[in-house]
């Protein structure tokens, strides 16, 4: 039996040493998915030719041909990224038949590195949600406790990594959608600086703030994945040049002498006591490694969630307008309808959460309301960015728990959108300001994981990964019970 629980870097090493074969690893991963995914529902689709792909890569390795850095590593992909010739549904009925005619840039890059895309994983419909309960194809379950939500919207990504159904996964993070499920499922979730990874082929929800990010077992694996997929892309005008930085080199440098700010507004009332004490523990561990920790107030954090939902609903209302079922979509003939009534009917295939946000997205930027809502939200975003930039003049890094509460039961908050809002309070700041942030599994409380979050300034992703690696090394967590 192959050990499926190894990290990406260990996988590469063991393949290179000839200890394991890609084919064995991939076929056993497929078996693992068959065994656990009926319960967990991480996957929306599993590719049927992955074993042949792995076999071909083994052949290349044996014959001494050049092999990409992933060596047939099975990777799961959130179902909002396009893989040519594969269904890409965004976990929506609206796109249940959409087959992408092109590859997302991250997919192209991973293909060149001989990754094997084991399957597409579950998410909240169009990435709107933080529990994966809003998937049109049913929720995913948390491997630590299957009565609980796995977080979202990249729930399927987090579950698949946590439950060893793949080695790493790509998710997308609009307001915490990578970090939140990573925290809830006990894996690493990393949102890089805005622009570091091309969004070409990522189906937009709120394009001005979202980023693709890896979910991995270790921080080093996140650095490895970033090395694979980052960089300037002529297909995405918002990408930034990172001068081919190697994020793995020097990752063991430690954090001695680094100044870390503890964001006061992110450990405020309403934070679960277990999360609070984990945060204190994390701070003292960082201090024992030579970091200097100090509280800091970022006033605009209080308004960040309202600004976040206003901006994302506005952009979503526009980004999702294209789903009118004319050029692609599901089977629903146009005959006998008038244009407006046809698309209004066709768009009933959106789930209730998407519909709600669409209505908000029509309301907050509309002629009579933009001044009160949308413009103010944009200004909060500007001021928040200024405040965070100011904080980074004083500190190298910032810290806060990833989510103020522990994973909760399925169905517990589904009818209370405003209480769900507050779960986002610690994650949206990184998106609104474009800063990199990472969630590291730090503690287990009551059998459920707690993630600790670090932030760095824009393009300081290398420092962020170094610090996260140092923090990760201070704890040893038990294995996931599934």
């Amino acid at each position: 039996m192959t050990n499926l629980k190894i990290s990406a870097l260990d996988y590469v090493e063991q393949i290179q040493n000839g200890n394991i074969s890609a084919e064995d690893f991939v076929s056993e991963t497929v078996d693992r998915i068959k065994k656990v995914d009926d319960t967990l529902h991480a996957f929306l689709s599993v590719n049927d030719d992955v074993i042949e792909q792995a076999r071909a890569i083994d052949k290349k390795i044996k014959s001494g041909d050049k092999v990409g850095a992933c060596y047939g590593m099975p990777i799961s992909i959130k179902d909002n990224m396009c893989i040519k010739g594969s269904k890409t549904t965004c976990a929506s009925k609206m796109l249940e038949n959409f087959v992408a005619p092109y590859d997302a840039t991250v997919i192209t890059k991973l293909k060149q590195q001989d990754a094997v895309f084991i399957g597409k994983v579950n998410m909240d419909e169009f990435a709107m949600g933080l529990t994966t309960e809003f998937s049109a194809y049913g929720p995913s379950k948390n491997p630590w406790n299957t009565d609980c939500i796995p977080g979202g919207s990249s729930g399927g990504s987090a579950v698949s990594v946590s439950a060893f159904e793949c080695v790493t996964s790509l998710g997308s993070d609009t307001g915490g959608s990578v970090r939140n499920p990573a925290s809830f499922c006990g894996v690493v979730g990393y949102k890089p600086t805005y622009g570091l990874i091309s969004r070409y082929g990522l189906i937009s929800y709120a394009n001005s703030i979202e980023q693709i990010g890896p979910l991995t077992r270790t921080v080093k694996d996140s650095a490895f994945m970033l090395n694979m997929i980052c960089g300037l892309d002529s297909n995405d005008n918002t990408t930034v040049d990172n001068n081919s930085e190697d994020y793995l080199s020097g990752i063991d440098s430690g954090i001695e002498g680094k100044k870390i700010g503890i964001i006061k507004e992110m450990i405020a009332d309403g934070t679960d006591p277990a999360v609070l004490s984990s945060t204190k523990d994390a701070i003292s561990k960082l201090e024992s490694l030579g970091a200097i920790c100090e509280e800091i107030s970022i006033d605009m954090v209080k308004y960040s969630v309202a600004a976040y939902y206003t901006i994302t609903a506005t952009e979503a209302g526009s980004n999702l307008a294209r789903y009118d079922n004319l050029r692609y979509g599901y089977d629903f003939p146009v005959e006998g309808y008038e244009f407006n009534s046809y698309i209004a009917k066709a768009r009933k295939n959106f789930g209730p959460e998407v519909t709600r946000r669409m209505i908000i997205g029509g309301f907050v930027p509309s002629a009579g309301h933009a001044g009160k809502y949308f413009l103010k939200a944009m200004k909060v975003k500007s001021k928040l960015t200024k405040e965070v930039n100011e904080a980074f003049k004083k500190f190298d890094l910032l810290i806060a728990p990833t989510v103020p509460i522990l994973p909760f039961k399925l169905g517990e908050k589904i009818d209370d959108p405003v209480s769900l809002f507050l779960v986002d309070i610690n994650t949206v700041t990184a998106n609104l300001t474009g800063k990199p942030a990472i969630s590291v599994p730090f503690a287990i409380s009551n059998g459920l994981p707690i993630g600790m979050q670090l932030f760095a300034n824009s393009m300081n992703d290398k420092l962020l990964l170094q610090a996260a690696h140092a923090l990760e090394n201070t704890v040893k967590l038990p294995e996931v019970p599934i």
Partner: protein, 88 residues
Amino acid sequence: MVTEEEIERVSKLMKIDVDDHKEYVDKVHAMIDYFDILDSAGVESEEISMPEIPISQLREDKHVPFDQKLIEKLNNYKGSYVRAPKMS
């Protein structure tokens, strides 16, 4: 204040049929009410800004046709047109 009429107006604007407006009123109302917090942020004088890139970074003006016959992969009418309902 978000009324049922307002929900109806916006769902029309966004072109989504909503069968039960009332069902949406409460939740949307609660969400939008929460946004009132923005009024106390004191950000009136802030400027809205965006990332910038120089014109030189934009792509060259070159014609490169797509590598597939895309229309065949989309909903098409006799392999050529896309069909839409009649216009009012």
